[in-house]
Subunit: 189 residues, 2 copies
């Protein structure tokens, strides 16, 4: 059962994602979100909101992408969108983390999940663009619901939010961006 | 956009699942697991371990079931397997919670997810039996990795673990149960 042991070893290793803390506050402001529960929430976003994707998507694949999209943070940590972390260095750390973590799995399975993660990172398909759109949308909704959230914390104004979030959300769903843009304008207005 | 607002309302409401604390310790023993990150972890179990299911399963459906299986705990809370809570009262609370929570969604979507949740609860299909098997397996692996976990806490012995976990795990995967049973015997032996 070496095959099974490798797989359970991977599932044990990724338990650490529950300890990676993001900047986004929970809706009740009790604490900041971790990357494991964030991944669950995004998978639920995909399940509920797929009808708004610009292009036809395979919901099952989008969900799988979102389940694994942050796993590299076990090694590389989370770099906040509005923070000052170096995005190039972070990308290198994430590549090394992907090599190590997906490498824990049996070869064929590890390669298949690595391809799915690469597809997400490259945003080269409708599934990946929609997944990335939801990943950018969710923190916006948490900031709106908590009267500022990370925008206040990092002194981010309306123009910066529109510029940092608009393109990525709209590439996956114009319909959702149309709506949430209005909410952002109302928040800052 | 009332349709979208209903859906975002649901996604906001279920954020509370991140605040429902289970008995299971994280692998590093730093704290107890919450039900949102638990749901993410189980969805990953399904993605990685589906080859061991006794019967052919639709992995996408199993993942969806596991993503939503604990949502009712937003209202009903978590009743630990090894605790003394009343399982009948809990089942009633969960039915009421399912009515309220899935009722927040547009009718057709809410009904469809409610059906999926009912299927999980009834364990009446191969997909549901495999999902339930993983839900019972994961805490066992956390207890094994933390030298006792909730077994120590609730004074649970080997016979009780085998009786409370064996049937549900084996119904979904004899292969996994064969392996994990050996690990349990070694732990207590």
């Amino acid at each position: 059962m070496d095959h099974l042991k490798q797989q359970l070893g991977f599932l044990k290793e990724i338990d650490q994602l529950k300890g990676v803390i993001r900047q986004t506050p929970l809706m009740d402001k009790s604490r900041q979100e971790n990357s494991a529960e964030h991944s669950w929430h995004l998978a639920m976003y995909a399940l509920i909101l797929s009808e708004y994707a610009n292009e036809p998507v395979n919901v099952g694949r989008v969900i799988q992408m979102l389940l694994i999209h942050d796993i590299v943070e076990v090694d590389a940590g989370d770099v906040p969108l509005h923070g000052s972390g170096d995005k190039t260095e972070q990308a290198e750390r994430e590549q090394a983390a992907a090599n190590r973590l997906f490498g824990l799995l049996p070869d064929k399975q590890g390669a298949s999940l690595r391809e799915l993660w690469d597809e997400f990172e490259e945003a080269s398909t409708p599934d990946a663009r929609f997944a990335k759109s939801l990943d950018r949308l969710q923190p916006v909704l948490h900031n709106l619901a908590t009267e500022g959230g990370t925008w206040d914390k990092f002194n981010v104004d309306e123009a910066m939010v529109l510029q940092r979030c608009g393109p990525q959300i709209a590439k996956g769903s114009e319909a959702i961006w149309d709506w949430v843009k209005g909410e952002i304008q109302q928040h800052f207005g």
